[in-house]
Each structure stands twice: as C-alpha cells, then as structure tokens.
Amino acid sequence: MAEEREVVLMKGNEAIAHAAIRCGCDGYFGYPITPQSEVIETLAELKPWETTGMQVVQAESELASIYMVYGAAGAGKRAMTSSSSPGIALMQEGITYMAGAEVPGVFVNVQRGGPGLGTIQPSQGDYFQATRGGGNGDYKVIVLAPSSVQEMADFVDLAFELAFKYRNPAMILSDGVIGQMMEKVVLPPFKPRRTDEEVIKQCPWASTGKPKNRERVVITSLELKPEIMEQRNIALQEKYAKIQENEVRFEEQLMDDAEYAIVAFGSAARIAEKSVEIAREQGIKVGLFRPITLFPFPTKQIAELSKKVKGILVAEINAGQMVQDVRLAVNGAVPVEQFGRLGGIVPDPEEIVEALKKVM
C-alpha cells in the first residue's frame, strides 16, 4: 500500500521545524536571529508540547540555547537549536564542550554574511567555523550541507541519527537562501519520541538518574591527568577517522563525461546546477560535484575526480574556504580555482560559468 505522503510548499526554515517534530525531537532551545527566526516561530505556532510532548524554549541568548541543548542531550534526549552565523559564533564554546564530553547535540546554522554582525543576506562564510572548529581543541563536528528544502527536512533526523551513533555534536550548515526559499517538500512521517525507558536503554552513557545497578555517569569534558586526557583525545581522533570512513555523502551530476568539474555545496550548488546547464549549452563538458557532508569531507572522491578532469572550479559564497579542502584532496594534480561573492551577494549562474572559463 502506498504510504500517504504530504507534499507541501514551505520555507527551508519551516521545514526544519516540521521535521524536528516529526523525527521525535525532545526539545528545541533557541533564540531569534535573522534569517532563521522562522524555525522557532513555526515551532511556537505548532505547539508540539501539546501533541508530542516536545519542549520548545526561547532561551535568553545563544549561549543559553547551546547549553540547554547540552543539558538535554547529555541526558540522552534529542535536543537541538538553530541560529545564524554571529549566534553560532557565540555557541562555539558549547560546541567544543559537547565534542569533548561526547554529547550528541544538533544545531543548525542558517548562514549570513560576516564577519562580525555582518549582514542578514546569505553567505557560506562559516565553512571554516563549521569544519575547522570555532571552539578550542582538537575536535570535529559532523556537518551536513543541505541544498534544498527537501534536504532541510530530511537532514534533521539524519543529524540526530549520526549524532547519537557517534556521540558527537552534529550540525546542519544551511544558509539564508535555503532557509528562506520556498519549495515543495515531502515531510517525513511522524516518528514518536522515545520513551524514558527507551532513552535509558539506548543511552546508558547519559545522565538520566543513577540506578543502583550502575556507576554514576558524569558528562564532562574536563580531565586534568595528562595521560588520561591524551587517551581521551586519541579515542576522539579514532572516532573521527571512523566517521570519515563511513559517513561521507556527496552527489554528482553529469560527471561521467566531464572534462571540468564545479565543486559546490549548499545554495551555491543549486546555482551551479544552472551554471552546468548553461556551460553545456556552450559546449563545455562540465559536471557538478556536490559534497553533502563537509565533515567528513569527500576527500577520496575528489582526489579520484581530479584524475579524470582538466580543472576544477570551487564555487562558494565566501572568500575561499572549501577550496582549501579541495586543494588538499587534489594535491596539485590539476588547477583549482575559486569563485565567490561576498557581503551577502548571491552569485548568478552566469558568473560561475565565466569563472569556470578561467580554469580552462
């Protein structure tokens, strides 16, 4: 029997909210900031605390938001927050604490132009912040980069699954284009929130209240003994290596006969789809490689790709961030150029085609 699927037209930000409720999220703790305030507004309107029991709290700041997520996720619950670039900057401490304490919190960055307070217009300028870690220490956050409203809806459950699978913070790195644009979306089916017993069973590491039959749980990133701290860090690095091995996700379009490749993520990839179309009409055999996970980065795949093409253009809406990871993967095999716009300006597909010609 065909499953009834709801197809609706909505903004990316709204899709995040709907998907959160449907994937059994236990708590959303957030703070308004343009261009993502629709996430908390939609949740407030849908009142999931009356239906699924999901908590929605408007925190006093982004600092408080990330720590409310930390608390709930450290207690084994599916907890998330969302913000935009300057707010995510405030959250960096909480994110490194989650990485160090192995707390599976989920957060969404709907990027806007920076640096600083910046602009409310879209950008992809937080790639470094997301993948290099804006917080202190050696850590990685799992980063998913949606490029459609559908992926905004699909990646919420995926982010939670990955976060809990690896006990690691996970983020959805979106931007103001994806957050604000409206597209058809098939919302995921409703999944009930886990019961307290299920949480206790599935998350024995969580601070859920100590029964007599186990040692107390301490959710902490603090360890003063160097020998033990080194072991903890080595274990984290081994975890990241496993994530790198198992969780890479990407998409290729028209790469089979491509002589050139455009590498782009998020909204830049949507624009680049059109650029590929225009370039092909002009006789240029170009394809699109779209990383979906930014950590783990599809290094191996891009290295393979660089053996087949004559040049690569990285199209990203920043001054050159992902291009570094592409260059590392390509390792000098072929020329790699970068094209981007700054200040909240979203490039036209034609601009990317013109930039591509520089690589040829």
Partner: protein, 256 residues
C-alpha cells in the same frame, strides 16, 4: 561502660552520608563546600531520590563535586549551569535537577542564565555557595566581594570607584516572579546547619512539586582565599558577611 559497647552500628547518630562516596574531597581544610555537599547528599537520600537526581556542577572549586556525591552529574561551562539544568528538567520533568555554583559562576559570567532560569520558573534548585572570592583561581575579587575586602585583584580593598559594588543575588532572585523560594543560609554551626538542611529540603520538594525555581544561597567561607584559619574565617564571616548578606527566607510562596 566499655567503649566497645558504645561503638556499635545500632548506636550511630552521625556518619558520612551514604550518598557521599569514599573519595577524599579536594577542598581546603575547613571549606564550607564540604558541609554543603553533605547536606545535599543527606537530603537526596532522605527524599529517596538517589536514582532520580541529576546535579550540574560549575567551574570553580566545586567543579569536581561530581566526584563526591554518588548521583548522575553534568559538568557545565562557567556560568551556564542553569541552562543545562533547564534542558535536563524540561526533558526529564520527574527528575530532581539542581545546580551547584559559586559566586563567579552564578553572579558574574552566569548572571544572565541565573536570572532567566529563575525567572522562567524552571522547576530546579540553584545552590549558591557565596564566599565573596574566586577560590579556585587563586583568590581574586568576586562580584560578591565586600567593600574594603582585600583580594588579589583588589589588594588595597574593594573600592566602589574602581570596582563597583557587591551584588546581592538573593535579593534580585526574590524579586523575580518565577521564583518560589529564595533563602540565605550558612553552615558554620550545628544550629545553622540544621536550618540550612531544612531549607534545602524545602527547595528540593518545591521543585518536585512544580512550584517554580528556588535559590538557596549558602553564605560561606574561603579560608585560603581570605588567608585566615578555618576558625578565624568563620568569625570573619559572622562579623562581615552576615550583616551584608543577612540570613533567612527572602521569599517563600511554596505553600501557595
């Protein structure tokens, strides 16, 4: 009467609380933290909430509170404990959730989280150990350091012109609509300890009854930071801290 006849298990009238494990506590000799830890352990056990309690420890001397009381804990970033507690309690409403914070944690970097968690009326208890100094980092001025009090960052005494005024967090908390119980206690004598324990129990019960947020302040000593012996520190506290941070209930709507 042979001593062996007295020292029998059935004659015990006072012992280390069961919920306190055998780890030696790292606090300085005579530190108030130890007594407050004992009270928390006793009250949780007396309420039968050992398997339902989740504590949130601060950054400060009590960062290792989680090593001493045998319940589940989370270690918060400096000042953020009330936010963690909010996340935990909202998602686990039947748990006994409390924070344990010092004066820097609660009244300086964490002022925002303290006020808002209290004002939202989160059903948590915020335990505030106020010894008017930053102990862990070596004795610097705290937002609750008294005028004229000497610390490493105000070696000539706190001067309002240079350093501003001490903050009375309990008074602020009592003025917030979300709080149901705000009290100041101390733990330097048997009488004050007995009162303090009752206050802590009241706060914990109020949080479990969904009455709102509580702030239980323990006016305390830091004999290392104050550079006094434990006994002299108690005297200094009584002479100087008690007049400025008067003890008693500042707000109690728990019976409403």
């Amino acid at each position: 009467m042979d001593r062996n006849q007295i020292v029998q298990p059935e004659n015990i009238v006072c012992k280390k609380p069961t919920l306190m494990n055998d780890n030696n506590m790292h606090y300085c000799p005579g530190c108030s933290h130890g007594v407050v830890h004992k009270l928390i352990a006793e009250v949780i056990e007396e309420m039968g909430m050992e398997d339902k309690a989740v504590g949130v420890s601060p950054v400060g001397c009590a960062v290792f509170a989680y090593n001493y009381i045998d319940i589940d804990w989370q270690e918060a970033a400096h000042g953020r404990a009330p936010a963690l507690a909010t996340g935990i309690k909202r998602c686990w409403p039947d748990r006994l959730v409390f924070t344990y914070q010092g004066d820097g944690d609660l009244a300086c970097i964490g002022t925002c989280e303290t006020i808002h968690a209290l004002n939202r009326g989160e059903n948590i208890v915020i335990i505030f150990v106020n010894n008017a100094i930053y102990g862990m980092t070596g004795g610097q001025m705290a937002p609750t350091t008294l005028i004229g009090q000497k610390t490493s960052t105000c070696p000539y005494g706190r001067d309002p012109q240079l350093h501003g005024y001490p903050l009375k967090m309990a008074d602020i908390a009592a003025g917030l609509e979300g709080t149901c119980y705000v009290t100041r206690q101390s733990v330097e004598s048997v009488a004050s300890i007995n009162k303090a324990k009752k206050a802590l129990r009241k706060a914990f019960e109020a949080s479990m009854a969904g009455k709102g947020s509580s702030l239980v302040e323990f006016v305390s000593t830091c004999n290392s930071g104050w550079k006094l012996s434990p006994a002299k520190a108690n005297e200094w506290m009584k002479e100087n801290m008690f007049p400025f941070y008067p003890k008693g209930d500042l707000k109690d709507t728990t019976s409403l």
